[in-house]
């Protein structure tokens, strides 16, 4: 696959109380963001564990984006801060594995920030496109094939 034709597959874990709502708002406001992301709604980013990120990469994701509430604005007080620490631990683990840590990123948006979310997604897609296809993704089942 040449780099020009490469369209990254990015899994986005979005918090129900902020990023998921802002993605919805982006639709209402007709704000475009790249269709490379597959959004999974989570009750809080604090619900996410390191293995979710690692399994996503193992199953062929080129990048994983975690979108939680603004720091200090978590519906469950500090779930997003827990997620931040787990994302950092998972990034260290990715580096040990031999994958670029930049493929995993956490961003913070409020439910009203449709445009910033779209910008975060664009930036993530750009970063992963620059890194190229995940070497793990080759010869694995495409994550799109697992979608209902």
């Amino acid at each position: 696959m040449n780099s020009e034709a490469f369209e990254p597959k990015i899994l986005a874990f979005c918090c129900h109380y902020c990023a998921y709502a802002s993605a919805d708002l982006a639709g209402t406001m007709r704000i475009q963001y790249p269709p490379n992301v597959r959004i999974i709604r989570t009750p809080c980013t604090g619900r996410l564990e390191v293995e979710y990120f690692i399994k996503a990469f193992e199953q062929g994701a080129d990048g994983v984006l975690i979108a939680g509430c603004l720091e200090g604005g978590c519906h469950f007080i500090e779930g997003n801060l827990c997620a931040k620490r787990r994302v950092n631990a998972a990034r260290d683990l990715l580096a040990e594995i031999g994958l670029e840590a930049e493929r995993l990123r956490m961003v913070n948006v409020s439910a009203a920030e449709a445009r910033p979310l779209a910008e975060h997604i664009k930036d993530m897609v750009q970063t992963v496109r620059r890194l190229g296809s995940s070497p793990i993704a080759a010869n694995t089942t495409s994550i799109t094939e697992n979608l209902p």
Binding site: E51, I97, G98, L99, P135
Partner: protein, 222 residues
Amino acid sequence: MIVAHRKSIPELIEILTGHNKVLVLGCGTCVTVCLAGGQREVGIIASALRMASKLRGQALEVEELTIERQCDNVFIETAVEAVERNDAILSLGCGAGVQAIAERFSDKPVYAGLDTTFIGILEERGIWTEKCSACGDCVLHNYGGICPITQCAKQLLNGPCGGSREDRCEVRPDRPCAWQLIYQRLKDIGQLDRLRKIQPPKNWSTSLDGGPRVIVREDHRI
């Protein structure tokens, strides 16, 4: 509980070089509680090994299994079929678990995936602290339940050393002075007089001396 932490993925890949099918075997007891070798960590390490080996041009097949307790033959038996399917075992048990597995499966290479570190407690979320050195001759009754062997950097039985500053250890300024803690605790429970007695040198023959220690209980033997 026994506290351990995992070895790095590059180190594990090097340890497993030459094997094609590996069983990552977790333990459901101490290392599960210290978040180093339970079912969740087995999943993470297995996935990491699959990806890391692939990136290094190897095709490591990794199976995952977690048993209740690796240091007990009754539970080890539940792993027999999985062990037979694989070339080698990467045990995420403590050092005792790894050796128990190796003894049971004498024809399989068994490797340690963790560095077993100490007997300790969860001090607060994400922080484990050593509490016991397993010296075999407990002296806690003399020190208000605070172990000078483990907690004091100089292992003083007749402390303090005089080097502590503002209740901090001079060797480890990030840790409290054990003797400050001992003094405060004995004062709180009204046993300061215990400190008037000079303790003789400790009998270290009960510690790691002359090979592994064995406890025989005739009343429990059959």
